[in-house]
Symmetry: C2
Subunit: 290 residues, 2 copies
């Protein structure tokens, strides 16, 4: 049976594991703190690849940043990784096939191939974490666009210059629907020293202000579902990331489907959590190895 050495690299952690053709993790996932320099990251990759390449048929890497359509290099600036990271030569790590893919796209592919969106050839997977990422499946393929950068969820939801976005613009969807956004709502409705954690705790204790903050956050999530439902007419929208666990699925499913002009979709929580990126990029590589 074919196997792949699968990495997932983010701003804080690098994770890796060996995954087989059936999508099973052969060993426990190893996690290390992301080195502080691009050279440090590359050295770490080289060490692990050298140690394990004899056991596998290729190397897959789920990464922050946009990846080109050939899955060979990063084509965007990557804010939360060190300077120079986006110019690393990942293809030179080994003589075996190497595949690179954006982490949100990889997670979406995992959900489509064997998770919550399995069997749905038109699917949207939104990752609600510190920011908001998306992976979109159109007719059984990842939506990549001309260069590979498609699926950036930076859409202006307002024109009042209320909330500054990490992309440099104001009032993007991300500033209303991410975990960071819930902290902004906590400050708005509960007080300056409050965070998203206070909202979640307050919700459990029946705090009215916490409910207002959460409802404001969730109403923008509904806007996001209406947006993606209207533009893509998907069979399913899947929510993943740290914020996905707090969403009122039944209520939001009903409201968003009432508001779209297209045909109804299903709203579900992701099946895979932290390992979705690793699994998805590995599954993409298995498709190439066939």
């Amino acid at each position: 049976m074919k196997k792949v050495l699968a990495f997932d690299i983010g701003g804080t952690k690098i994770a890796y594991a060996i995954i087989d053709e059936n999508g099973n993790f052969v060993n426990d996932v190893v996690k290390v703190t992301t080195p502080k320099t691009a050279e440090g990251i590359y050295d770490f990759f080289k060490t692990v690849v050298k140690g394990l390449e004899a056991e596998v048929d290729g190397v897959s890497i789920a990464t922050a940043g946009a990846v080109n359509n050939e899955n060979t290099k990063i084509i965007s600036h990557v804010g939360n990784l060190p300077e120079g990271y986006n110019q690393l030569d990942f293809m030179a790590l080994t003589d075996k096939p190497v595949l690179l893919e954006n982490d949100a796209n990889s997670a979406a592919w995992a959900e489509y191939k064997s998770g919550a969106a399995k069997g749905s050839k038109h699917a949207v997977v939104l990752t609600l974490g510190t920011g908001v990422g998306s992976g979109i499946i159109v007719d059984g393929k990842l939506l990549k666009g001309k260069s590979g950068a498609a699926g950036e969820m930076h859409v202006r939801f307002d024109d009042r210059h209320n909330r500054k976005c990490t992309c440099g613009l104001w009032d993007c969807l991300e500033t209303y629907v991410s975990g960071t956004a819930l902290t902004a709502d906590a400050k708005l409705y509960m007080g300056q020293d409050m965070t998203s954690y206070d909202v979640i705790r307050g919700l459990k204790n029946g705090d009215e202000k916490a409910k207002e903050a959460f409802d404001h956050w969730q109403s923008h999530l509904e806007n996001t579902l209406v947006l993606m439902g209207n533009i893509f007419d998907p069979e399913i929208i899947v929510l993943s990331g740290s914020m996905a666990q707090f969403v009122e699925y039944d209520k939001l499913n009903r409201q968003a489907n009432d508001d779209i002009l297209t045909q109804p979709f299903t709203l579900k929580q992701a099946k895979f959590e932290n390992n979705a990126g690793m699994l998805g990029a590995a599954l993409l590589l298995f498709d190439r190895l066939k």
Copy 2:
């Protein structure tokens, strides 16, 4: 050479012509006022088809409303056409092949196959008229979604309940970027009895208030370009419809490309105007007839 009898049906006019395989109009386009009932519309179609079917290899119909993936029927409510229109049996009009497609999708296909977006396998065509329509080309294919209804541009741009949208929601993109939206901006900046025509006239005469109204309208068009650029990473965005002629292309191209996170796209005005829908649906049918 193969020929198609091509119709385009909207709320005010039905147009038809015979189009050949090279996309040439064999005769002048005939235009009639849309009959007031669904039966009247169907009778008109029957009469024209009966009169011309011997000369053609099939019938194409570009229509308001969402059309299913088989291109055989309308699957949505169609606001600006008579009750019962969306249940008409277009396939029964003749024994020859009949193809139905949404008008914005048809126009996009015409621009992709032989217009402003020719050769761009990733393209977005926005129709800025009374409302806002879109046709999206992903990797050389029309984006249709699970049911055929994809590409609805109803995205909430604000949460203040400023402008009611025809879709029943508030503050959709359409209420900020359409011709109707420019009239709303005319009232906001120039006075209650002003319309989009006053804005356009005022612009020509150097009227400051008209410029403010237009700039407000155009800033939301820029938001729309950023949205579509970020989500689809297209090679080109094409603007068509009655409002497309007023846009400052160079300025907007520069601004929107400064603001996206994906790779630069080109902004262009559509090549085909009124006949784009007829041509596009005919070209889709020619692909089927091959």
